[in-house]
Subunit: 306 residues, 2 copies
């Protein structure tokens, strides 16, 4: 294979109760990447459309991830990456993860797939590190594996694919302010109260049980974040109002998507998810802040070849 075109989806990390460990994959939103072999070794960034991205291979998330891949798996050929960047960087739905995972996935395919999707996470981490200062796999894992994923241990990349209750539909609203992960991490405190930690792991445990048992009521009760959300809410205009509107419209739960500013909700069925999106956006209409709203089933497949 000389060239490949892939779709690298957006994703939602943290999911209220799972800071730095839990994530799920979105469906219609994502980047399109075209990767082709070149005669000269190394990685180059070709055309970039949709968003402005660095062309310097040392500063672009996609090429940095591919370089990490090629260090482990050297190739005499080089690679050119053309990116139609449809996920806005800094929107909180895994922009850098899509770039990094998409690029290594494509190169892996072009080289006859020496690595599994799970194994590719380690290389994509280099791209995430460039984007956010500290590399976490909570967006990469769902982008590569699809569905819901849990990163048991970020250091050893012990990643578990979790089941998805069939009726779940995500709503994501992106108020168009830019929030760098590096800044929304800076606002966190290095210590948390033990009691809030207990509440958090009780909720995450229950959330995971709810995924296995398709218990939507339990899923709803467990979508609480007492640790991170109270600190980050202030970075997102009208966060509390938007979240409350989502819950009042029937969402099972709602919270900050990744490090924000996007806000996500999970609902049972597309109709509720649509209603939730309509309710969420009214607050940004009122203050004249531009936004995007996405409705999405949980993407079971992750990155796909187009």
């Amino acid at each position: 294979m000389e060239e490949i075109k892939i779709f690298a989806p957006a994703s939602v990390a943290n999911v209220s109760c799972g800071f730095d460990v839990l994530g799920f994959c979105l469906d219609p939103v994502g980047d399109v990447m075209h990767v082709s072999k070149t005669k000269t070794p190394g990685v180059q960034i070709g055309t970039v459309t949709g968003q402005e991205l660095p062309k310097d291979p040392l500063k672009n998330v996609a090429s940095v991830a591919v370089s990490a891949f090629l260090e482990a798996h050297p190739s005499k050929e080089g690679f050119r990456i053309d990116i139609d960047k449809r996920i806005k960087p800094g929107s909180g739905i895994g922009s850098s993860a899509a770039s990094a995972a998409g690029a290594v996935f494509a190169v892996n395919e072009l080289l006859g797939a020496p690595y599994t999707r799970a194994e590719l996470v380690q290389f994509a981490m280099a791209g995430e590190a460039l984007a956010s200062g500290a590399a976490h796999a909570d967006n990469l894992a769902p982008v590569l594996l699809g569905g819901f994923t849990l990163v048991r241990c970020n250091a050893t990349l012990d990643i578990i694919k979790l089941p998805t209750p069939p009726d779940l539909v995500a709503t994501v609203i992106h108020p168009k302010i830019e929030l760098k992960t590096i800044h929304s991490r800076a606002i966190l405190k290095s210590d948390i109260p033990l009691q809030k930690g207990v509440a958090q792991w009780g909720n995450l445990g229950a959330f995971i049980s709810a995924l296995y048992t398709e218990n939507y009521e339990l899923l709803s009760r467990s979508m609480q974040d007492e640790v991170i959300e109270p600190l980050r809410a202030m970075l997102i205009p009208k966060f509390n109002e938007v979240k409350q509107a989502a819950l009042d419209s029937g969402a099972l739960g709602s919270g900050i998507s990744g490090s924000g500013p996007s806000i996500f909700a999970l609902s049972r069925g597309r109709e509720t998810a649509k209603k939730v999106g309509d309710a969420m956006k009214t607050f940004y209409d009122q203050i004249g802040l531009d936004y995007d709203v996405h409705l999405s089933p949980i993407n079971q497949q992750g990155i796909k070849i187009l």
Copy 2:
């Protein structure tokens, strides 16, 4: 029914990665309680064998729990509780939980079972509060419901029964020093590092996934406690050596049972669990500290009528 005899089992709380939320029920170890109706209302403690327990109904865990039950569900009859206390108080395997849960279970049966097992937790909490200062349901839930249980929220008693992989066998060693829950709680710090919290909820999430998928390797990897065990280990003689010996003998994981001093291990199969127990006890033989060792499958039923 005028009288009832029940078996109230011991239990292991925390289970390494689930401080204050996770627990499982043991099988051969437990108290035998005989509860009979009396003509005068109220609760009285009759004979107590096996251990010394307060006879004053206001100071005995079993009668305090029954009083909480009778406040919600008044009865013209009274109850006399005879206890063969086989679980040593302060051993870390849910002695007070067995007394409290056993007593309310028995009285509930004698009154035609107006409450489900799950509903009885709220009354048994009064007994736990007497014993340990702060009431937690992480021992009560497995004693009443059997198997593994998760307390999502201690305030609302949102309790989930979890599945048990069929090959799991517990080993519990009780070095005979007494450690009051109230004291082993005092050693904890009110804050924990966020990074250790993340590790803890990643491990608990993975542990729960492992229960549903019967993945013993994942169960083993997730039995880590970076939050509580490092603080409490010093309260238990030879803890680190005993734990390491359990792991070296093939245990999937090992840690402090509840607030100690008992140390538990989970193994795959009875043969390994036996080997683990033999390895654990050598350290107490060396220093001449008396101990008990229990081998136990996971008790799926919880309290049972004899």
